[in-house]
Symmetry: C2
Subunit: 267 residues, 2 copies
Protein backbone atom coordinates (compact mmCIF):
# COMPACT_ATOMS: atom_id res chain seq x y z
CA UNK A 1 0.00 0.00 0.00
CA UNK A 2 2.80 2.38 0.96
CA UNK A 3 4.47 1.81 -2.43
CA UNK A 4 1.23 2.17 -4.38
CA UNK A 5 1.25 -1.46 -5.47
CA UNK A 6 -2.10 -2.21 -3.75
CA UNK A 7 -4.94 0.11 -2.64
CA UNK A 8 -5.69 0.62 1.06
CA UNK A 9 -9.16 -0.95 0.61
CA UNK A 10 -7.63 -4.02 -1.03
CA UNK A 11 -5.34 -4.46 1.97
CA UNK A 12 -8.16 -3.94 4.51
CA UNK A 13 -10.28 -6.59 2.75
CA UNK A 14 -7.64 -9.34 2.86
CA UNK A 15 -9.02 -12.35 4.75
CA UNK A 16 -7.28 -15.05 6.74
CA UNK A 17 -8.36 -18.71 6.66
CA UNK A 18 -11.14 -18.01 9.17
CA UNK A 19 -12.54 -15.09 7.16
CA UNK A 20 -11.23 -12.35 9.49
CA UNK A 21 -10.24 -9.22 7.56
CA UNK A 22 -7.14 -7.13 8.18
CA UNK A 23 -9.23 -3.90 8.37
CA UNK A 24 -11.61 -5.23 11.07
CA UNK A 25 -8.83 -6.77 13.10
CA UNK A 26 -6.74 -3.56 13.02
CA UNK A 27 -9.82 -1.64 14.19
CA UNK A 28 -10.43 -4.12 17.05
CA UNK A 29 -6.98 -3.57 18.51
CA UNK A 30 -7.02 0.21 17.91
CA UNK A 31 -4.36 0.19 15.17
CA UNK A 32 -6.51 1.31 12.23
CA UNK A 33 -5.09 4.83 11.98
CA UNK A 34 -6.30 7.64 9.74
CA UNK A 35 -3.03 9.32 8.80
CA UNK A 36 -1.86 9.03 5.21
CA UNK A 37 1.73 7.90 4.87
CA UNK A 38 3.51 9.92 2.24
CA UNK A 39 6.60 8.29 0.69
CA UNK A 40 8.01 11.74 -0.04
CA UNK A 41 8.55 12.20 3.71
CA UNK A 42 11.14 9.41 3.57
CA UNK A 43 14.66 10.13 2.37
CA UNK A 44 15.81 6.51 2.01
CA UNK A 45 15.15 2.97 3.27
CA UNK A 46 17.47 0.25 4.55
CA UNK A 47 16.44 -3.29 5.50
CA UNK A 48 18.58 -5.70 7.53
CA UNK A 49 17.86 -9.37 6.75
CA UNK A 50 19.35 -12.84 6.82
CA UNK A 51 20.66 -13.92 3.41
CA UNK A 52 18.36 -16.97 3.12
CA UNK A 53 21.12 -18.53 1.04
CA UNK A 54 24.58 -20.07 1.59
CA UNK A 55 26.96 -17.58 -0.06
CA UNK A 56 28.07 -15.45 2.92
CA UNK A 57 28.51 -18.49 5.16
CA UNK A 58 30.50 -20.45 2.53
CA UNK A 59 32.71 -17.45 1.70
CA UNK A 60 33.08 -16.48 5.38
CA UNK A 61 31.73 -12.96 4.86
CA UNK A 62 29.79 -11.24 7.63
CA UNK A 63 28.05 -8.54 5.60
CA UNK A 64 26.25 -8.69 2.24
CA UNK A 65 25.80 -5.35 0.45
CA UNK A 66 22.60 -5.97 -1.50
CA UNK A 67 22.61 -4.32 -4.93
CA UNK A 68 19.20 -5.54 -6.09
CA UNK A 69 16.76 -8.41 -6.31
CA UNK A 70 16.63 -11.05 -9.04
CA UNK A 71 13.89 -10.99 -11.64
CA UNK A 72 11.78 -14.16 -11.54
CA UNK A 73 9.61 -15.97 -14.09
CA UNK A 74 7.46 -18.98 -13.27
CA UNK A 75 6.10 -21.47 -15.82
CA UNK A 76 4.16 -24.70 -16.01
CA UNK A 77 5.22 -27.13 -18.74
CA UNK A 78 2.93 -29.96 -19.82
CA UNK A 79 3.97 -32.87 -22.05
CA UNK A 80 1.03 -34.81 -23.48
CA UNK A 81 1.51 -38.35 -24.80
CA UNK A 82 -0.68 -41.46 -24.82
CA UNK A 83 -1.34 -43.45 -21.67
CA UNK A 84 -0.93 -47.19 -22.32
CA UNK A 85 -0.05 -50.53 -20.70
CA UNK A 86 3.66 -51.03 -20.03
CA UNK A 87 3.57 -54.65 -21.16
CA UNK A 88 1.68 -55.23 -24.41
CA UNK A 89 2.57 -51.90 -26.08
CA UNK A 90 5.75 -52.06 -28.23
CA UNK A 91 8.12 -49.11 -27.79
CA UNK A 92 7.60 -48.06 -31.43
CA UNK A 93 3.82 -47.71 -30.87
CA UNK A 94 4.19 -45.47 -27.82
CA UNK A 95 3.88 -41.74 -27.41
CA UNK A 96 5.72 -41.66 -24.09
CA UNK A 97 5.98 -38.15 -22.59
CA UNK A 98 8.82 -39.27 -20.28
CA UNK A 99 11.01 -39.78 -23.36
CA UNK A 100 10.96 -36.00 -23.92
CA UNK A 101 12.38 -35.26 -20.46
CA UNK A 102 16.11 -35.91 -21.05
CA UNK A 103 16.35 -33.37 -23.87
CA UNK A 104 13.91 -30.89 -22.30
CA UNK A 105 15.57 -30.83 -18.86
CA UNK A 106 19.08 -30.70 -20.35
CA UNK A 107 18.18 -27.77 -22.63
CA UNK A 108 16.53 -25.83 -19.80
CA UNK A 109 19.59 -26.14 -17.54
CA UNK A 110 21.78 -25.09 -20.49
CA UNK A 111 19.95 -21.75 -20.56
CA UNK A 112 21.19 -21.19 -17.02
CA UNK A 113 24.76 -22.25 -17.89
CA UNK A 114 24.80 -19.81 -20.78
CA UNK A 115 24.23 -16.92 -18.39
CA UNK A 116 26.26 -18.25 -15.45
CA UNK A 117 26.92 -17.59 -12.63
CA UNK A 118 23.99 -15.25 -11.88
CA UNK A 119 21.18 -17.29 -13.48
CA UNK A 120 19.01 -19.74 -11.58
CA UNK A 121 17.11 -22.62 -13.20
CA UNK A 122 14.89 -24.70 -10.93
CA UNK A 123 12.56 -27.55 -11.87
CA UNK A 124 10.84 -27.88 -8.50
CA UNK A 125 8.07 -30.31 -9.42
CA UNK A 126 7.71 -33.15 -11.91
CA UNK A 127 4.44 -35.03 -11.92
CA UNK A 128 3.43 -38.03 -14.01
CA UNK A 129 -0.21 -38.98 -14.65
CA UNK A 130 -1.53 -41.51 -13.73
CA UNK A 131 1.81 -42.28 -12.06
CA UNK A 132 1.54 -46.09 -11.98
CA UNK A 133 4.49 -48.49 -12.34
CA UNK A 134 3.01 -50.53 -15.21
CA UNK A 135 1.44 -47.68 -17.19
CA UNK A 136 3.17 -45.35 -19.65
CA UNK A 137 2.11 -41.88 -18.39
CA UNK A 138 -0.37 -39.90 -20.46
CA UNK A 139 1.03 -36.57 -19.26
CA UNK A 140 4.02 -35.15 -17.43
CA UNK A 141 3.73 -31.74 -15.72
CA UNK A 142 6.78 -29.73 -14.69
CA UNK A 143 7.23 -26.40 -12.96
CA UNK A 144 10.04 -24.07 -14.04
CA UNK A 145 11.46 -21.13 -12.05
CA UNK A 146 14.07 -18.96 -13.82
CA UNK A 147 15.88 -15.99 -12.27
CA UNK A 148 18.45 -13.38 -13.19
CA UNK A 149 19.36 -10.04 -11.57
CA UNK A 150 19.55 -8.38 -15.03
CA UNK A 151 16.12 -7.88 -16.56
CA UNK A 152 17.51 -7.90 -20.12
CA UNK A 153 19.11 -11.29 -19.55
CA UNK A 154 15.94 -12.60 -17.88
CA UNK A 155 13.97 -11.49 -20.95
CA UNK A 156 16.48 -13.27 -23.19
CA UNK A 157 16.22 -16.42 -21.05
CA UNK A 158 12.44 -16.21 -21.40
CA UNK A 159 12.75 -16.25 -25.21
CA UNK A 160 15.09 -19.23 -25.00
CA UNK A 161 12.68 -21.13 -22.76
CA UNK A 162 9.97 -20.57 -25.38
CA UNK A 163 12.35 -21.80 -28.09
CA UNK A 164 13.29 -24.95 -26.15
CA UNK A 165 9.61 -25.79 -25.68
CA UNK A 166 8.85 -25.11 -29.36
CA UNK A 167 11.72 -27.33 -30.44
CA UNK A 168 10.84 -30.19 -28.06
CA UNK A 169 7.24 -30.00 -29.28
CA UNK A 170 8.31 -30.01 -32.93
CA UNK A 171 10.90 -32.79 -32.65
CA UNK A 172 8.73 -35.34 -30.83
CA UNK A 173 5.47 -37.22 -31.32
CA UNK A 174 4.24 -35.95 -27.93
CA UNK A 175 3.06 -32.34 -27.61
CA UNK A 176 4.78 -29.90 -25.27
CA UNK A 177 3.01 -26.83 -23.88
CA UNK A 178 4.32 -23.79 -22.00
CA UNK A 179 2.11 -21.79 -19.64
CA UNK A 180 3.46 -18.55 -18.13
CA UNK A 181 2.42 -18.31 -14.49
CA UNK A 182 4.13 -15.26 -12.94
CA UNK A 183 6.70 -12.58 -13.69
CA UNK A 184 8.45 -10.46 -11.07
CA UNK A 185 10.86 -8.04 -12.84
CA UNK A 186 14.36 -7.57 -11.44
CA UNK A 187 15.09 -4.63 -9.10
CA UNK A 188 18.24 -2.52 -8.87
CA UNK A 189 18.63 -0.74 -5.57
CA UNK A 190 19.65 2.95 -5.34
CA UNK A 191 23.40 3.67 -5.68
CA UNK A 192 23.17 6.23 -2.87
CA UNK A 193 22.01 3.49 -0.47
CA UNK A 194 24.30 0.75 -1.79
CA UNK A 195 27.29 3.10 -1.41
CA UNK A 196 26.28 4.01 2.13
CA UNK A 197 26.15 0.33 3.11
CA UNK A 198 29.46 -0.35 1.39
CA UNK A 199 31.28 2.46 3.16
CA UNK A 200 29.79 1.34 6.50
CA UNK A 201 30.97 -2.24 5.87
CA UNK A 202 34.47 -1.08 4.90
CA UNK A 203 34.83 1.22 7.90
CA UNK A 204 33.59 -1.49 10.27
CA UNK A 205 36.23 -3.94 9.02
CA UNK A 206 33.77 -6.85 8.74
CA UNK A 207 34.45 -9.19 5.79
CA UNK A 208 31.87 -8.22 3.15
CA UNK A 209 30.81 -8.64 -0.48
CA UNK A 210 28.14 -7.36 -2.87
CA UNK A 211 25.17 -9.67 -3.39
CA UNK A 212 21.94 -9.83 -5.38
CA UNK A 213 19.01 -11.11 -3.36
CA UNK A 214 17.55 -14.29 -4.76
CA UNK A 215 14.36 -14.02 -2.69
CA UNK A 216 11.73 -11.27 -2.71
CA UNK A 217 11.53 -8.69 0.12
CA UNK A 218 9.49 -5.72 1.35
CA UNK A 219 12.32 -3.62 -0.07
CA UNK A 220 11.34 -4.67 -3.61
CA UNK A 221 8.17 -2.61 -3.24
CA UNK A 222 9.72 0.15 -1.08
CA UNK A 223 12.42 0.67 -3.71
CA UNK A 224 9.76 1.81 -6.19
CA UNK A 225 9.09 5.00 -4.20
CA UNK A 226 12.15 5.57 -1.97
CA UNK A 227 15.91 5.03 -2.52
CA UNK A 228 16.52 1.62 -0.96
CA UNK A 229 19.14 -1.02 -0.26
CA UNK A 230 19.53 -4.00 2.07
CA UNK A 231 22.14 -5.52 4.37
CA UNK A 232 22.44 -9.30 4.58
CA UNK A 233 24.05 -11.36 7.32
CA UNK A 234 24.81 -15.12 7.11
CA UNK A 235 22.31 -17.77 8.22
CA UNK A 236 23.14 -21.36 9.17
CA UNK A 237 23.37 -23.64 6.09
CA UNK A 238 21.53 -21.01 4.05
CA UNK A 239 18.22 -22.19 5.54
CA UNK A 240 15.17 -20.00 6.06
CA UNK A 241 11.38 -20.40 6.35
CA UNK A 242 12.34 -23.53 8.24
CA UNK A 243 12.55 -24.48 11.94
CA UNK A 244 16.31 -24.94 11.50
CA UNK A 245 16.75 -21.24 10.62
CA UNK A 246 19.35 -19.66 12.90
CA UNK A 247 22.02 -16.94 13.06
CA UNK A 248 25.05 -16.09 15.21
CA UNK A 249 24.75 -13.31 17.79
CA UNK A 250 27.95 -11.62 16.50
CA UNK A 251 26.46 -11.49 13.00
CA UNK A 252 23.35 -9.76 14.35
CA UNK A 253 25.61 -7.24 16.09
CA UNK A 254 27.69 -6.72 12.95
CA UNK A 255 24.58 -6.22 10.81
CA UNK A 256 23.14 -3.68 13.25
CA UNK A 257 26.42 -1.76 13.40
CA UNK A 258 26.60 -1.58 9.59
CA UNK A 259 22.94 -0.56 9.49
CA UNK A 260 23.58 2.29 11.96
CA UNK A 261 26.66 3.55 10.13
CA UNK A 262 24.93 3.26 6.73
CA UNK A 263 22.05 5.41 8.00
CA UNK A 264 24.56 7.98 9.24
CA UNK A 265 26.33 7.83 5.84
CA UNK A 266 23.22 8.67 3.83
CA UNK A 267 23.02 12.43 3.48
CA UNK B 1 -3.62 -72.81 -5.65
CA UNK B 2 -4.20 -75.18 -8.58
CA UNK B 3 -0.65 -74.57 -9.82
CA UNK B 4 0.88 -74.92 -6.36
CA UNK B 5 1.93 -71.26 -6.21
CA UNK B 6 -0.18 -70.59 -3.10
CA UNK B 7 -1.62 -72.93 -0.43
CA UNK B 8 -5.36 -73.47 -0.15
CA UNK B 9 -5.37 -71.92 3.35
CA UNK B 10 -3.60 -68.82 2.06
CA UNK B 11 -6.31 -68.40 -0.58
CA UNK B 12 -9.16 -68.96 1.90
CA UNK B 13 -7.69 -66.33 4.25
CA UNK B 14 -7.51 -63.55 1.63
CA UNK B 15 -9.59 -60.57 2.80
CA UNK B 16 -11.40 -57.88 0.84
CA UNK B 17 -11.50 -54.22 1.96
CA UNK B 18 -14.33 -54.99 4.40
CA UNK B 19 -12.45 -57.89 6.01
CA UNK B 20 -14.58 -60.65 4.41
CA UNK B 21 -12.49 -63.75 3.63
CA UNK B 22 -12.70 -65.83 0.48
CA UNK B 23 -13.11 -69.05 2.50
CA UNK B 24 -16.09 -67.78 4.55
CA UNK B 25 -17.81 -66.24 1.55
CA UNK B 26 -17.43 -69.43 -0.52
CA UNK B 27 -18.94 -71.39 2.38
CA UNK B 28 -21.89 -68.95 2.66
CA UNK B 29 -22.91 -69.52 -0.96
CA UNK B 30 -22.28 -73.26 -0.86
CA UNK B 31 -19.25 -73.19 -3.15
CA UNK B 32 -16.56 -74.31 -0.70
CA UNK B 33 -16.09 -77.80 -2.11
CA UNK B 34 -13.99 -80.60 -0.66
CA UNK B 35 -12.62 -82.23 -3.82
CA UNK B 36 -8.93 -81.89 -4.54
CA UNK B 37 -8.16 -80.74 -8.04
CA UNK B 38 -5.30 -82.73 -9.49
CA UNK B 39 -3.41 -81.06 -12.35
CA UNK B 40 -2.44 -84.50 -13.68
CA UNK B 41 -6.10 -84.98 -14.71
CA UNK B 42 -5.65 -82.16 -17.26
CA UNK B 43 -4.01 -82.86 -20.59
CA UNK B 44 -3.57 -79.23 -21.68
CA UNK B 45 -4.92 -75.73 -21.15
CA UNK B 46 -5.92 -72.99 -23.62
CA UNK B 47 -7.05 -69.47 -22.69
CA UNK B 48 -8.82 -67.06 -25.05
CA UNK B 49 -8.19 -63.38 -24.21
CA UNK B 50 -8.13 -59.90 -25.68
CA UNK B 51 -4.61 -58.77 -26.54
CA UNK B 52 -4.68 -55.74 -24.17
CA UNK B 53 -2.29 -54.12 -26.63
CA UNK B 54 -2.40 -52.55 -30.12
CA UNK B 55 -0.41 -54.99 -32.28
CA UNK B 56 -3.19 -57.16 -33.80
CA UNK B 57 -5.40 -54.13 -34.49
CA UNK B 58 -2.57 -52.12 -36.11
CA UNK B 59 -1.43 -55.06 -38.23
CA UNK B 60 -5.01 -56.10 -39.07
CA UNK B 61 -4.58 -59.59 -37.70
CA UNK B 62 -7.56 -61.40 -36.15
CA UNK B 63 -5.73 -64.10 -34.19
CA UNK B 64 -2.65 -63.92 -31.98
CA UNK B 65 -0.88 -67.25 -31.32
CA UNK B 66 0.63 -66.65 -27.89
CA UNK B 67 4.05 -68.26 -27.48
CA UNK B 68 4.75 -67.06 -23.95
CA UNK B 69 4.61 -64.21 -21.47
CA UNK B 70 7.24 -61.54 -20.97
CA UNK B 71 9.44 -61.59 -17.91
CA UNK B 72 9.00 -58.48 -15.78
CA UNK B 73 11.17 -56.68 -13.26
CA UNK B 74 10.04 -53.72 -11.17
CA UNK B 75 12.30 -51.21 -9.43
CA UNK B 76 12.16 -48.02 -7.41
CA UNK B 77 14.94 -45.52 -8.04
CA UNK B 78 15.64 -42.72 -5.56
CA UNK B 79 17.91 -39.76 -6.23
CA UNK B 80 18.89 -37.86 -3.09
CA UNK B 81 20.16 -34.28 -3.32
CA UNK B 82 19.82 -31.21 -1.08
CA UNK B 83 16.56 -29.29 -0.81
CA UNK B 84 17.17 -25.53 -1.06
CA UNK B 85 15.60 -22.22 -2.07
CA UNK B 86 15.43 -21.63 -5.84
CA UNK B 87 16.46 -17.99 -5.50
CA UNK B 88 19.40 -17.41 -3.19
CA UNK B 89 21.25 -20.68 -3.91
CA UNK B 90 23.81 -20.42 -6.77
CA UNK B 91 23.78 -23.31 -9.24
CA UNK B 92 27.32 -24.30 -8.25
CA UNK B 93 26.28 -24.75 -4.59
CA UNK B 94 23.35 -27.03 -5.41
CA UNK B 95 22.99 -30.79 -5.24
CA UNK B 96 19.96 -30.89 -7.51
CA UNK B 97 18.59 -34.42 -8.04
CA UNK B 98 16.66 -33.28 -11.14
CA UNK B 99 20.00 -32.67 -12.90
CA UNK B 100 20.63 -36.44 -12.85
CA UNK B 101 17.42 -37.20 -14.73
CA UNK B 102 18.49 -36.46 -18.34
CA UNK B 103 21.38 -38.93 -18.25
CA UNK B 104 19.55 -41.49 -16.09
CA UNK B 105 16.38 -41.59 -18.19
CA UNK B 106 18.32 -41.62 -21.47
CA UNK B 107 20.53 -44.52 -20.34
CA UNK B 108 17.54 -46.55 -19.14
CA UNK B 109 15.71 -46.21 -22.47
CA UNK B 110 18.95 -47.16 -24.26
CA UNK B 111 18.86 -50.54 -22.50
CA UNK B 112 15.53 -51.13 -24.23
CA UNK B 113 16.85 -49.98 -27.63
CA UNK B 114 19.77 -52.37 -27.33
CA UNK B 115 17.39 -55.33 -27.14
CA UNK B 116 14.71 -54.00 -29.52
CA UNK B 117 12.04 -54.70 -30.57
CA UNK B 118 10.96 -57.11 -27.81
CA UNK B 119 12.11 -55.11 -24.78
CA UNK B 120 9.89 -52.74 -22.83
CA UNK B 121 11.17 -49.88 -20.68
CA UNK B 122 8.58 -47.90 -18.73
CA UNK B 123 9.12 -45.09 -16.24
CA UNK B 124 5.55 -44.86 -14.98
CA UNK B 125 6.01 -42.48 -12.07
CA UNK B 126 8.37 -39.59 -11.31
CA UNK B 127 7.89 -37.81 -8.03
CA UNK B 128 9.76 -34.77 -6.68
CA UNK B 129 9.87 -33.91 -2.97
CA UNK B 130 8.71 -31.43 -1.73
CA UNK B 131 7.50 -30.59 -5.27
CA UNK B 132 7.30 -26.80 -4.92
CA UNK B 133 7.99 -24.32 -7.74
CA UNK B 134 10.59 -22.25 -5.84
CA UNK B 135 12.40 -25.10 -4.09
CA UNK B 136 15.12 -27.35 -5.51
CA UNK B 137 13.82 -30.87 -4.71
CA UNK B 138 15.58 -32.85 -2.00
CA UNK B 139 14.67 -36.18 -3.61
CA UNK B 140 13.29 -37.57 -6.87
CA UNK B 141 11.64 -41.02 -6.87
CA UNK B 142 11.08 -42.98 -10.09
CA UNK B 143 9.51 -46.34 -10.83
CA UNK B 144 11.01 -48.57 -13.51
CA UNK B 145 9.31 -51.51 -15.25
CA UNK B 146 11.47 -53.60 -17.65
CA UNK B 147 10.24 -56.56 -19.70
CA UNK B 148 11.55 -59.09 -22.17
CA UNK B 149 10.15 -62.43 -23.36
CA UNK B 150 13.64 -64.01 -23.11
CA UNK B 151 14.71 -64.56 -19.51
CA UNK B 152 18.42 -64.45 -20.43
CA UNK B 153 17.99 -61.04 -22.02
CA UNK B 154 15.89 -59.81 -19.08
CA UNK B 155 18.67 -60.91 -16.73
CA UNK B 156 21.20 -59.05 -18.89
CA UNK B 157 18.96 -55.93 -18.85
CA UNK B 158 18.82 -56.22 -15.06
CA UNK B 159 22.64 -56.11 -14.87
CA UNK B 160 22.66 -53.07 -17.15
CA UNK B 161 20.07 -51.27 -15.01
CA UNK B 162 22.32 -51.85 -11.98
CA UNK B 163 25.30 -50.53 -13.95
CA UNK B 164 23.42 -47.38 -15.08
CA UNK B 165 22.44 -46.64 -11.48
CA UNK B 166 26.00 -47.26 -10.25
CA UNK B 167 27.41 -44.96 -12.91
CA UNK B 168 24.87 -42.16 -12.29
CA UNK B 169 25.59 -42.41 -8.57
CA UNK B 170 29.35 -42.31 -9.13
CA UNK B 171 29.35 -39.47 -11.68
CA UNK B 172 27.19 -37.00 -9.73
CA UNK B 173 27.20 -35.19 -6.40
CA UNK B 174 23.71 -36.55 -5.66
CA UNK B 175 23.31 -40.19 -4.59
CA UNK B 176 21.28 -42.64 -6.67
CA UNK B 177 19.74 -45.79 -5.15
CA UNK B 178 18.12 -48.82 -6.78
CA UNK B 179 15.53 -50.92 -4.96
CA UNK B 180 14.29 -54.16 -6.56
CA UNK B 181 10.55 -54.49 -6.03
CA UNK B 182 9.34 -57.51 -8.00
CA UNK B 183 10.47 -60.13 -10.49
CA UNK B 184 8.16 -62.26 -12.61
CA UNK B 185 10.29 -64.59 -14.79
CA UNK B 186 9.39 -65.01 -18.46
CA UNK B 187 7.22 -67.97 -19.49
CA UNK B 188 7.44 -70.06 -22.68
CA UNK B 189 4.23 -71.86 -23.48
CA UNK B 190 4.18 -75.55 -24.54
CA UNK B 191 5.02 -76.24 -28.23
CA UNK B 192 2.23 -78.84 -28.36
CA UNK B 193 -0.34 -76.13 -27.51
CA UNK B 194 1.24 -73.35 -29.59
CA UNK B 195 1.28 -75.67 -32.62
CA UNK B 196 -2.37 -76.64 -32.07
CA UNK B 197 -3.39 -72.96 -32.05
CA UNK B 198 -1.26 -72.22 -35.10
CA UNK B 199 -2.75 -75.04 -37.16
CA UNK B 200 -6.27 -73.97 -36.10
CA UNK B 201 -5.55 -70.38 -37.17
CA UNK B 202 -4.09 -71.48 -40.51
CA UNK B 203 -7.00 -73.82 -41.29
CA UNK B 204 -9.55 -71.14 -40.34
CA UNK B 205 -8.02 -68.66 -42.80
CA UNK B 206 -8.08 -65.77 -40.28
CA UNK B 207 -5.11 -63.37 -40.54
CA UNK B 208 -2.80 -64.35 -37.67
CA UNK B 209 0.64 -63.88 -36.15
CA UNK B 210 2.68 -65.15 -33.21
CA UNK B 211 2.79 -62.90 -30.17
CA UNK B 212 4.33 -62.74 -26.71
CA UNK B 213 1.93 -61.53 -24.05
CA UNK B 214 3.08 -58.33 -22.39
CA UNK B 215 0.61 -58.67 -19.51
CA UNK B 216 0.35 -61.42 -16.90
CA UNK B 217 -2.45 -64.05 -17.09
CA UNK B 218 -3.87 -67.07 -15.23
CA UNK B 219 -2.08 -69.10 -17.88
CA UNK B 220 1.30 -68.03 -16.45
CA UNK B 221 0.55 -70.13 -13.35
CA UNK B 222 -1.35 -72.88 -15.19
CA UNK B 223 1.62 -73.37 -17.55
CA UNK B 224 3.74 -74.49 -14.60
CA UNK B 225 1.73 -77.69 -14.20
CA UNK B 226 -0.07 -78.29 -17.53
CA UNK B 227 0.95 -77.70 -21.19
CA UNK B 228 -0.57 -74.29 -21.97
CA UNK B 229 -0.98 -71.65 -24.65
CA UNK B 230 -3.27 -68.67 -25.30
CA UNK B 231 -5.23 -67.17 -28.17
CA UNK B 232 -5.46 -63.39 -28.48
CA UNK B 233 -8.01 -61.35 -30.42
CA UNK B 234 -7.76 -57.58 -31.10
CA UNK B 235 -9.22 -54.97 -28.73
CA UNK B 236 -10.11 -51.39 -29.68
CA UNK B 237 -7.08 -49.05 -29.49
CA UNK B 238 -5.25 -51.68 -27.41
CA UNK B 239 -7.18 -50.55 -24.32
CA UNK B 240 -8.04 -52.80 -21.36
CA UNK B 241 -8.82 -52.42 -17.63
CA UNK B 242 -10.63 -49.31 -18.80
CA UNK B 243 -14.28 -48.41 -19.47
CA UNK B 244 -13.38 -47.91 -23.15
CA UNK B 245 -12.37 -51.59 -23.51
CA UNK B 246 -14.29 -53.19 -26.40
CA UNK B 247 -14.03 -55.87 -29.09
CA UNK B 248 -15.77 -56.70 -32.39
CA UNK B 249 -18.33 -59.53 -32.45
CA UNK B 250 -16.60 -61.16 -35.45
CA UNK B 251 -13.32 -61.25 -33.53
CA UNK B 252 -15.05 -63.04 -30.63
CA UNK B 253 -16.44 -65.57 -33.12
CA UNK B 254 -13.04 -66.02 -34.77
CA UNK B 255 -11.33 -66.52 -31.42
CA UNK B 256 -13.88 -69.09 -30.33
CA UNK B 257 -13.57 -71.00 -33.61
CA UNK B 258 -9.78 -71.12 -33.31
CA UNK B 259 -10.14 -72.19 -29.65
CA UNK B 260 -12.47 -75.04 -30.64
CA UNK B 261 -10.23 -76.28 -33.46
CA UNK B 262 -7.09 -75.95 -31.33
CA UNK B 263 -8.69 -78.12 -28.63
CA UNK B 264 -9.57 -80.70 -31.31
CA UNK B 265 -5.97 -80.50 -32.62
CA UNK B 266 -4.37 -81.34 -29.27
CA UNK B 267 -4.02 -85.09 -29.07
Amino acid sequence: VFAGEFTLDYAYQREDKEGLTLGNELEKIGYKGKDIINPSEFYASLELHIEQGPILEKEEKTIGIVTGVQGIRWYEITIVGNECHAGPTPMSYRTDPVMILPKLIKKLYEIGEQYAPDSRITIGSINTQPGVTNTVPGTVDLTLDIRNPDQNILDQMHLEVQEVIRKCDHDSNASVHLHEVWHSPSVRFAPICIDAVQVAAEVSGYPHRKLVSGAGHDSVYISKVVPTSMIFIPCKDGLSHNESESIEKEHAIAGTNVMLNAVLNIK
